[in-house]
Amino acid sequence: MKDINKKRTGNLISIQDSLVKARFFDDVIMGETAEIFVDGKYLQAEVLQIQPDPKNPDAGIVEMQVFEDLTGAKIGDEVVFKGTPLSVLLGPGLLTSVWDGLQNPLYKLSEEDAYLRPGMNAPALDEEVLWDFTPSVKVGDTVSGGDVIGNVPEGKVDHKILVPFSFGTCTVESIVEKCSVNITQQVAVVVDQLGNKHELKLAFRQPVKSPIPFKNRAIPSKPISTGTRVIDLLAPVGYGGTVGNPGPFGAGKTVLQHSLCKYAVADIIVMAACGERAGEAVEVFKEFAELEDPTTGESLMNRMCIFGNTSSMPVAAREASVFIALTVGEYYRYQGRKVVMLADSTSRWAQALRERSGRQGDIPGPEAFPMDIPDQIKGMYQRAGEDLGTGGSLTFIGTVSPAGGNFQEPVTQATMDATGGFWGLSQDRADAKKYPAIDPLVYTTSVYDGFISWNDRKKMLSTLNDANDIDQTISTIGLKKVPVSNYIQFQKGLTIDFCVMQQDAFDKVDACTRPERLAVLNEAVQSLIDNDIAFEAGEMDDEQLKESIKQKFDELRQWWRDWNYSATTEDQLAQLPKAINKFILQEEYAV
């Protein structure tokens, strides 16, 4: 057996941006982490490849990506191999935290310097906070990886303390009584089958590139109330589901992500701000702290943790950040929590892989992405899922930033193939300021039973489709030649689009629509679709009739939008279906 305490080292022989090579004489493990000693600081790195040394048959050459800026690095600088793969610290205190892509706590680092300097680091979780630990095993019990040995309250979350997943069957040799402990203190000792003793604490490190197992995996089916109407009505996502959310810049991906953070009904939100604007992550952790969680009424930050590897931070850490965030999500799923993970943006993650493979001199695939990028994307989304065994779920919503807004590019295509749902944001709708710009005609969902029946969904969609077709006809042959009946159908579709599909994310009432309100809206929409409207032509010719129909629908839309912005009580909600029924009869409905 290898002596794990023996220090294994190497020395740099080549430096190119974030990619380095080192010569070594001992053993090196694929995927292990390393530290490079540069200018008095230790920089974090990860082993990518091991090759023979053409100059020295007794040595080998290891290729590594470095997670920090290498300015000042020289040939010969020492590399120390750590023996452990890239990992994340899991334990109480994860919630409300804000880290960089390698789980360095950003608030803690800011005490040292306003800028992130190479070599800076701090413990991932606060080591001073005391947690009220209640044991749930006793001496002599048999436990193995993933088993619960006790719990601590983490805010409103009952945080279970687990035996690290890598452990085999062990016997509990000692366990503390109910007490207050921090994450560095021992709470139990277990003995494995070889007789080796292991100390257990509240927190442990978990490798991030291989998934935490499911107990009893299921196909996601129960829809999440996201508060966004077009999603919940037409393209719902289930607990444990996966969604790709591509859109050109300016189409509203960020606003939608923020809206999901605020309103999605979930226990925990893990956000990987991966290679995106720093300002957006800041908005989340500074402003969301002031907002209320829709289910608990507490600060929204109490259910969140954020990995902010923003666009100007070292590229190599971008890849790590997504895996680290995923592993935190899996950890809470294993504890029975409903977790939603948002990754913004998976394209930046893929670009980080592209930059790296380019430097490594790999033969490039389409648009210079690594050849295996579709497999890597699939592998990532596969880690989401629902676990009936624990009652938890991990939902993964990834944004995609397609180059040129072109959905044919490799990352968007691979994502469409990898995910169960697809929310495509449309440039045309964004240009017309029709937000959220999810095209109601271009989406996919794998959830059959949503908040409204499949049949209602189909009818809604077919009206929107009709309106779209008639709109195109009007643009090509002119309004005059369109029959009145078609024009009414067009106005109905327009009304559903304007009053239901579009939503104001910045209005207090309109920003979030819950299932009860959706039901009311659906009732109104269905009766509008099902019924002929009693328009009277009287003395008017077709032209004048259409003008008058448009005016009536304009008034209805204005009334409906006012309702969207204001109706909250049961009475106020009930006004909408009433108003629609009166509109169908062409009676006075304004209240």
Binding site: K74, Q351, S475, K480, F498, F506
Partner: protein
Amino acid sequence: MIRKEINKISEVGKALISVEGNPGVALNHVVELLEADSGQSLSFAKAINISENSTRFQVFNGTAGLSTRTKIRMHEIPLTAGFSTKMLGRSFDGSGAVADGGPDVIFEKQVSTRLDTLNPTVRNVPKQPLWTGIPMIDVFNTLVKSQKIPIFAGPTEPYNRLLSQIAQGAQADVIIFAGIGLKFDEYQYFKEQLSQSGNIDKTIMFTHLAGDSQIKGLMLPDVALSVAREFGDQGKDVLVLLTDMTNWSNILRNVANYQDMIPSLQGYPGSLYSELAKRYEVAADIEGAGSITIIGATTLESLEDPVPDNTGYITEGQFFLENGKLKLARSLSRLKQGVNGKTRSDHRAIMTAMASLLADAEKAYEASEVGAANDAYSQKLLRYRTDFISNIEEPFGEPIGLEAALDKCWSILKRHFDPTETGLSKKLIEEYWDKN
């Protein structure tokens, strides 16, 4: 201090030189190139790839005239930029050397050009508007202090005129002008405009003219932004003008090509996004200090070109200039929501209503081109569109305040529509319709 020297250059290429073996130079450290016999300084250079077999440098002044006998003197420090408040009113080149023929500047300190990331936790959420007097910006896409935003424009559009108009009105303590690949007349234009507006004394110009050494153009934003950041750290509100970032990206592409990097799209390196982001992300409102706002210019043939495309994902919106007009449909300020809810009660609503009507009007305009917009409402929309383009999308003219601009919007709506056609709430209609 005796500095180590290397006597043998093995390879001289475009903008790059290499030496065999490893002379002990560190990554990104600076060396000086000396004429072999006279010892006269020819240029500085920066180590970019090092291995035990060879070391490669980017030469600031270009490689013309260098030979294998040229000496390399090691300085053993990373690249820095000189900083002094005496730089105000002066012009410098891409490496931070005086370029206006004036006296040398005695620098107070040297600042790192590495552009380390600001810890996100010390960023303030941007909340302070930066008024420009241009209705299209102030009403529809409010500019916010610490914003990073480019002007997207075709190469023949008056984007530099717009940049300069914004700079003249903007309330900043310091203006840093960073020009890459400029034509001489553009440089002169800025200088004159800034002088005329009386802003020259709070301006520092960093200029790289088309035809100057590529490496100096490549490093110019880092030097300019490091100086801007130092002012920001000292509590100043700084406005940085970067023009034109497409020129800069093209230099990046050339140099990546000289370095044999694998190209991704249209020859640009795969790192284009990260490289642009590193510069634009310097924009920040810093807790307990000042702020840095960046307005860039990005010239383009098509929005799908890699430079504007990547830029759009990095910046907080864009101003789109076409036929001399600031186009509403393609312009966006991502930070406007943080400020436009605290102005006048009708601000957001009128912005949304007018935009939505304009989108309908564009459709009517397309229909009209095939003779399919003959109904009364389409005709209304077409008249509205004409009015909007000439009165709202026009960026050049007398600056007007926000209130006046909003009133102007109401009067345009009233000229063309009935209240219910606007999609505005009853409450706002009652409050503002008859006032204007």
